[in-house]
């Protein structure tokens, strides 16, 4: 601390505390954080955003609950004979749809950071550059996990009984998280490209709506017109939905899991470098 002393001219001059001086001069500059530390710090930042703006959890909680209840009870009887029968087939699909839908918030978060100027602050920090993106994606994985727990919990309450047991459910969720992480790179790239949140949301919905609904999430593709079946058969959401059903009910077709992993690799291989390029040019 500093204590004022009277000088010969009548003014006061601060006397610097010796302890403070020693602290300022003797402590070395902290070491630069490694990529993992930096990424986890930004992941923690993503979680703190949820704490401070809990409204953003609405889509993680209310959206899956509404969809599950609506399709099970309103359309379940007409689509599968009874809600109880339909939930066995629907729940893995709803899980896929819910998590796929909320992946777009990764891009929205980054777009908001850019527009608010937070990215300019991050540029001045001595950190591994991609940590900002990787951390945001880590934070989102927790969000996807939370959505998965809510959907499965609700499903169990209303009659979902997975024959694959706990292991099957965990495996299905793990596969879903890998896919969601890969899909998030698309929205991250779009987050850099789009000027406003509204335009990003519109583009995201234009891509996600057909991907999620024109799939086997709700109904057997055999009941669809031939030209639509052709799209459904190559849709990665269909493969993910089939793989999730298989894992949860203990009759998994590993070919489907393989196709999902191929889609994941392709998404990261294409959109990972593209995002990093956009990230560097934005910086």
């Amino acid at each position: 601390m500093t204590t004022p002393t009277t000088t010969s001219t009548g003014g006061t001059a601060p006397v610097i505390d010796q302890k403070l001086l020693a602290a300022l001069s003797s402590i070395d500059r902290p070491p630069r954080p490694n990529p993992a530390q930096a990424s986890f710090t930004f992941g923690w930042r993503a979680l703190l955003k949820i704490k401070h703006v809990p409204e953003q959890l609405f889509d993680v909680t209310m959206f899956p609950i509404m969809f599950t209840l609506m399709f099970t009870y309103l359309f379940g009887g007409a689509l599968a004979g009874s809600p109880r029968e339909y939930i066995q087939d629907l729940l893995p699909g709803i899980l896929v749809l819910t998590v796929a839908m909320i992946t777009m918030y990764t891009g929205l978060g980054i777009n908001k950071d850019i527009n608010k100027g937070v990215f300019d602050r991050f540029r001045s920090l001595p950190i591994w550059r991609p940590a900002v993106l990787v951390g945001a994606l880590f934070g989102d994985v927790l969000r996807y996990t939370l959505a998965s727990i809510i959907v499965i919990g609700l499903g169990l309450l209303i009659g979902f009984r997975p024959d694959g047991g706990v292991l099957g459910v965990v495996a299905a969720v793990a596969l879903l998280l890998v896919f969601a992480f890969s899909l998030s790179w698309i929205w991250t790239a779009l987050g850099f490209l789009m000027r406003t949140e509204e335009s990003l949301m519109a583009v995201s919905m234009m891509i996600l709506f057909p991907l999620t609904f024109i799939s086997n999430v709700f109904v057997d593709p055999e009941t669809m017109p031939g030209w639509l079946q052709a799209f459904v058969d190559v849709n990665p959401i269909t493969h993910l939905s089939t793989a999730s059903r298989g894992l949860m009910h203990g009759d998994v077709d590993m070919t489907q899991v393989g196709w999902v992993l191929v889609a994941c690799v392709a998404l990261v291989a294409v959109f990972g470098p593209l995002t990093m390029r956009l990230f560097r040019t934005k910086q």
Partner: protein, 270 residues
């Protein structure tokens, strides 16, 4: 003293209300409402493209899996038409709330016009927008295979029921718009209305629903309106649906219009 100082300028006496002037005020406000509609992309999207997307989704994705004893498209179109009207009316609530909160009403009050024509403008613009959107959805439905068997008289009846439903939904939205303090709140209020068609016979027969939902679906206002429109367009028996539908619409209008008028007067009082 100058001539200007000596001249006493009397304040003009309030303009006597004449029917022609009131009609003129209303025409200006209706024109304003229509311009707002054309310039509001979100409203157009909500009232036109969303119902079309739902129509295509239910016909092509779910249609083959839902057994209704007839072609699913012929079953679902009347429900989509009413859903379309609901989506369109919901945007009216936001428009009314914006007017009430952005200070434009204060400007209108300083003009020699009938202030209530502001609400009339919203109502007529909503009616026009929704009838247009409904016509568009109907056109696309016909293009993808909807084949109504209605006679000209049945068509007139169906259009009248849809128009009455749009009027009812519009006034409900106006009421919510006057209650809400922000545009977001107005959107939230109308969410419940938009959910009602799903818990009705719009997409699936009510007897496929669990008992509790079936009871609600059978006795809520949307179901008899849908059954009436479906019966008129497809030539299926209506039974007593038509008068229950008219009764619901009339009862809701009799409650909502006076409430909206009272809310508007109380919120625009000096």
């Amino acid at each position: 003293m100058s001539v200007l100082d000596q001249t006493r300028v009397d304040r003009p006496s309030p303009r006597p209300r004449r029917l022609s002037w009131t009609v003129s005020d209303a025409a200006v406000m209706i024109d304003r409402g229509m311009r707002h509609t054309l310039r509001n992309g979100d409203a157009l999207f909500m009232s036109v493209f969303l119902p079309i997307m739902l129509l295509l989704l239910f016909v092509y994705v779910f249609g083959g899996a839902i057994d209704v004893g007839t072609g699913y498209i012929n079953y679902v179109v009347p429900g989509i038409i009413l859903l379309c009207a609901g989506f369109g009316a919901a945007t009216t609530a936001v428009g009314v709330t914006n007017d009430m909160t952005t200070g434009i009403i204060d400007r209108f009050r300083s003009l020699p016009i009938a202030t209530w024509t502001v609400v009339l403008g919203h109502v007529v613009a909503s009616m026009a927008r929704n009838l247009f959107a409904t016509g568009l959805v109907l056109g696309i439905a016909v293009a993808i295979g909807f084949r109504p068997t209605a006679s000209p008289l049945d068509w007139v009846g169906a259009i009248a029921v849809v128009a009455l439903f749009i009027l009812m939904m519009t006034w409900v939205s106006v009421m919510f718009g006057l209650i809400a303090k922000t545009a977001d709140a107005a959107s939230g209020f109308t969410f419940f209305i938009l959910f009602l068609p799903y818990v009705s016979s719009a997409f699936v027969p009510t007897d496929t629903m669990p008992a509790a939902l079936h009871g609600f679906a059978e006795h809520q206002p949307i179901t008899p309106i849908i059954e009436t429109v479906r019966g008129l367009l497809m030539g299926t028996p209506i039974g007593n649906s038509w008068w229950i539908a008219l009764l619901w619409c009339a009862a809701i209008l009799l409650v909502v219009v006076p409430i909206s008028s009272h809310l508007f007067r109380s919120r625009t009082r000096v």
